[in-house]
Assembly symmetry: C2
Homo-oligomer: 474 residues x 2
């Protein structure tokens, strides 16, 4: 791996350094186009909701739709804070040069064909771009990237289709940081399923701005509730650990899933973003030391992040389970044992409520099986859940959701209200294979309830939450 | 654990023994009711589409809607093949007695309050029921159960909401066998997400008919393409292994997920269905010997079953990956390595196609990254996928699906057509966190393409498929 793929190590960019990139007041699209489906056309379309000032640049048009189109960046009525270049590789140096001359704050380069091709002249071209950008103080995203999205300001600086939030965001939201553009956007589609995603930050070849910078910036961003990080590798892992420490210092949950954990994956990473993968064991140990949480499975990355964003610090080590299904109760006991999560029996006060409410064929213990009788007595579920949340032995309550159906939907809001009342998180484990069946989005969108689609991942999350709190207290 | 919870071991019921239960020509509902939400009312509602003859029994009504209602089973114009008792525990013995007297073939008992309460008199009551049912040759399902569903005949013998198939079934379909009713129905909701589910068979306390009988019957059922089994424990595991051998002898894929794998799970199982859990390691070893496949994760049970139902025997050990996302290609390489799945490089013919089609910033290798250029040249994906499927080194092709969007949907049918042409299965790994986003149902419903929502589970499935084939050849 030639050294020249990567810049020599430099200090992290911080929130202030990346302000023109993350919160631009003006954006110019170079290569704006009317050609349906072109990167330029798609980017302009995505920026229709941008709350700042949008400028279009392409010498072939005078206007594009309602907007004027300018022949160059220099011809714009102002110097844009962010430039998005929807241009071929060959134009990259010229666009950057114009940005440097004008004093543009940041440049997003979609174009591929640089260091990831491993061709010496392209590696050299990328190195030249980086050197010039650094010298000219233009923060560079890419090349070979899908760009970035800020839902709050409508700065959708990407040619990729952008996931629509199912509901308008309210309050701080998850920041997604991904080296892989496609997987970053794939993760962000959780927003269509109810998750609160505030930003999608991808960096492709990471020639200049990389995942470590993004994490550092989000660590200081009050609009970010927690950070989900997906990455392959880095030339200098120490910078990422430093960013993780910054997140820790700001008590911002950082959840990491690393790709390229095997020899062949590492090889594939080299041709994808030209990254050195590094040993997973080394990363795992290093992240543990600085308080980042590893998501074992890609498919659990977002749900773990969402849980940590919603959960206040644990008030007790024990976990209670209130189920309408005996099978789910067994599954909970199994997975708690496997993950080392304590499921103590309820104290006297809670037991009295459970025994009064649960029929003899149910189970007035922990895990508690209120049985299908909730169909005829919905109030019993609330009474049992409330009694368990009030029990000082329990730090969290799990409500498995077996069969998904419309009339069960109000249970999730009920759990959320109880969770708020007791200052403890509620967890719903969605065992239905109708994965986005009735109520799933509603449950996902609740502020005090986290939705898991795996009992095992729920228990692993609860264990990680407890471990994180223990580390903070130490 | 008192022996009396369970009958002494008996031979498996086979398809012929359970015919009145699995394919009844007439059904009577005892406790049919007009009371909205009652088990009787719900059952009658669910049987509206039954293609056989339906009879209602309740001495309090002369008619229910359009149908006559009879005071007793004896008063019916014929002896029904299957009786569903939506009656309280106290009525169970009387209903059974009438079934024995008339020569009814099978009886479903919803009522709870039997051996699962661990109260000696209720344990004894259940034992009496079983003895009488055996003696009178009435196959008994339950007590403490949700019943069973046959989509083909509309015999929805359950009070539980029944998942609707997204599309009408065509051809053989997955049989779901579950001790837990709630989780059995939760699994079956996969049908709303596109999966081909033909039957849901639950057995609650398994006093008479148990999961082993169901597996044996499905092993001989031509309408069943593969069997998904979820269970907690059995009094005599040998009967289940015998059923698994029957499935093996009929070359019917059987996929198993066992609950109650830990000490506390086993305890919960005792109060759920009064079952002895048994050691998971022992089950695992025994199942491996008789060709059943273990699903490690509950959430992978249905997708693994669906894959084995769709996949013809493997024609080569290698697996190829064609991706539009470099990140997904890396993930595939990682998980293949972890699961011991071979990903050899393509032969000359395939390589020539890949090199001609894939831009320099992609990867004309395995895993193959055709890049986002498929947005502008959709034909390149088909060409590369076809070339890889034609390569004799590969037994299967994986197409990761990153970001889900409408215009990508035709790719799945394209993969299905290529898979049919080459007699090899296609696998789609859905990395989008919009879990049932555009195209998911369409992909799930395809006959030659299996949908996975985890790259790791996809690779584990491919490994299990190869191992099963090796065992068959040995």
């Amino acid at each position: 791996m030639p050294e020249s793929h990567h810049p020599t190590s430099r200090p992290l960019y911080r929130a202030a350094d990346l302000r023109p990139l993350l919160s631009p007041r003006s954006i110019a699209v170079v290569g704006a186009s009317a050609r349906q489906g072109s990167f330029g056309e798609r980017t302009v379309h995505h920026l229709a909701g941008f709350t700042g000032r949008l400028h279009l640049v392409n010498s072939r048009y005078d206007r594009l739709g309602e907007r004027p189109c300018h022949p160059s960046l220099t011809a714009l009525p102002e110097v844009p804070e962010l430039v998005v270049a929807a241009t071929p590789m060959e134009a990259a140096e010229a666009v950057l040069e114009e940005c440097v001359t004008l004093g543009v704050g940041a440049l997003v380069l979609y174009a591929a064909g640089f260091a990831e091709t491993a061709r010496p002249e392209r590696v050299a071209l990328q190195a030249r771009l980086v050197a010039r950008a650094r010298q000219g103080r233009v923060r560079l995203v890419g090349p070979n990237c899908l760009g970035l999205v800020d839902y709050a300001s409508g700065a959708w600086a990407s040619f990729m289709s952008v996931p629509k939030p199912w509901r308008p965001l309210s309050g701080p939201a998850i920041g997604i940081v991904s080296q892989s553009g496609n997987l970053g956007f794939a993760l962000a589609q959780a927003t269509e399923a109810g998750a609160a995603v505030g930003r999608i930050l991808t960096c492709g070849n990471s020639a200049d701005v990389d995942v470590a910078d993004y994490v550092a910036a989000l660590a200081e961003d009050p609009s970010c509730s927690a950070i989900a990080l997906l990455f392959e590798g880095l030339s200098d892992p120490r910078r990422l650990l430093e960013a993780a420490e910054l997140a820790w210092a700001n008590d911002k949950p950082l959840v990491v899933h690393k790709l390229a954990t095997g020899a062949s994956g590492a090889e594939a990473a080299l041709s994808h973003t030209g990254s050195l993968a590094g040993s997973e064991a080394a990363y795992r140990a290093a992240f543990a030391r600085c308080g980042a949480v590893m998501a074992e499975q890609y498919e659990g990355l977002l749900e773990l992040t969402s849980f940590l964003a919603k959960a206040p610090p644990p008030r007790a080590a024990g976990v209670a389970v209130v189920s309408t299904s005996g099978g789910s109760a067994i599954m909970a006991a199994d997975r708690a044992e496997a993950r080392g999560v304590a499921m103590p029996q309820p104290g006297e006060a809670a037991r009295a409520v459970l025994e009064a409410r649960i029929p003899e064929f149910g189970s007035a213990r922990n895990p508690c099986d209120v049985t299908a009788q909730v169909l005829t007595d919905p109030d019993s579920l609330r009474a049992c859940a409330g009694a368990l949340l009030a029990d000082p032995a329990y730090g969290a309550l799990i409500m498995p959701n077996g069969f998904a159906y419309d009339t069960a939907t109000p249970r999730y809001a009920m759990l959320d209200a109880l969770a708020a009342e007791h200052g403890k998180p509620g967890c719903i484990v969605w065992t239905s294979q109708y994965l986005e069946g009735p109520g799933a989005r509603e449950a996902e969108a609740l502020p005090r309830v986290a939705l898991f689609r795996s009992m095992d991942r729920c228990m692993a999350a609860l264990a990680a939450w407890q471990a994180r709190a223990a580390l903070r207290a130490s």
